[in-house]
């Protein structure tokens, strides 16, 4: 508990370190970030740089 020097009120939460609700998941690697998700039939997009400076895309396979 911390003491408020002006009023001498002791607070239960203010000024206290609160445990993160997702701390354990993050510390153990269990937490899932967007890049960690795998969904059924998930598609993955990637960018592909063109080797030509000026060209028309005629088709995409």
């Amino acid at each position: 508990m911390t003491e408020n020097t002006m009023t001498n009120i002791k607070y239960l939460n203010i000024g206290q370190r609160q445990p993160r609700i997702d701390g354990m998941e993050k510390a153990t690697g269990e937490a899932k970030y967007t890049a960690d998700l795998k969904m059924p039939r998930m598609l993955i997009g990637k960018s592909l740089g063109s080797p030509y400076p000026h060209a028309k895309i005629l088709n995409i396979d």
């Binding site: 370190r17 445990p19 993160r20 997702d22 701390g23 354990m24 998941e25 993050k26 510390a27 153990t28 690697g29 269990e30 937490a31 899932k32 970030y33 890049a35 960690d36 795998k38 080797p51």
Partner: protein
């Protein structure tokens, strides 16, 4: 020259000649068929579903992909899986044993050393390599050991405090 290199990389990436390899991860043996150009990070995350190791930069600058190989911290985004066959690999998932977090994991939580958490697995593993080698590292030694791991949220003080607290335990 650069163009030539790119074409070679594309040909390699496009090829699907798979190689059978054996990896020892968190004290378990895995027999896998992978493309030889796969990085250890890709194999851990995509083949073994161990997504605790993160890809931050993919260039070896940030340390988010740090895992231990024979107790040494390595950057799994710059290591090919075929290079580390039959060697003891430990990922962040391997530190949680029998329902108990490693003291480092506990102190990271208690000291507020975690915010977004993306750097945390790498930080904890770099710290583990240090304290396994040296029982009572100085603050400077802790800073040095973590210098390859970037954190963009907490600032480093709480992380260093967490490692110091784990050392004292």
């Amino acid at each position: 020259m650069v163009g030539g290199t790119l074409i070679v990389i594309r040909i390699l990436r496009g090829s699907s000649m798979k190689k059978r390899i054996v990896l020892n991860v968190n004290a378990e043996e895995y027999e896998l068929e992978i493309e030889p150009q796969k990085t250890l990070l890709e194999v851990l995350r995509e083949e073994l579903d161990l997504t605790g190791a993160k890809e931050g930069c993919g260039l070896g600058s940030c340390g988010a992909c740090t895992v231990l190989v024979e107790g040494e911290p390595i950057l799994s985004c710059l290591t090919l899986a075929v290079e580390v066959q039959h060697r003891a690999i430990v990922t962040i998932e391997g530190l949680f044993k029998d329902g108990h977090p490693h003291p480092l994991q506990r102190h990271f939580i208690e000291c507020g050393a975690i915010q977004c958490g993306y750097c945390t697995p790498g930080m904890i593993l770099s710290a583990k390599a240090l304290i396994d080698e040296k029982r009572e590292p100085s603050r400077t030694e802790i800073q040095e050991a973590l210098s390859g791991n970037l954190c963009r949220c907490t600032g480093y003080n709480k992380i260093i405090e967490a490692v110091e607290a784990a050392v004292k335990e």
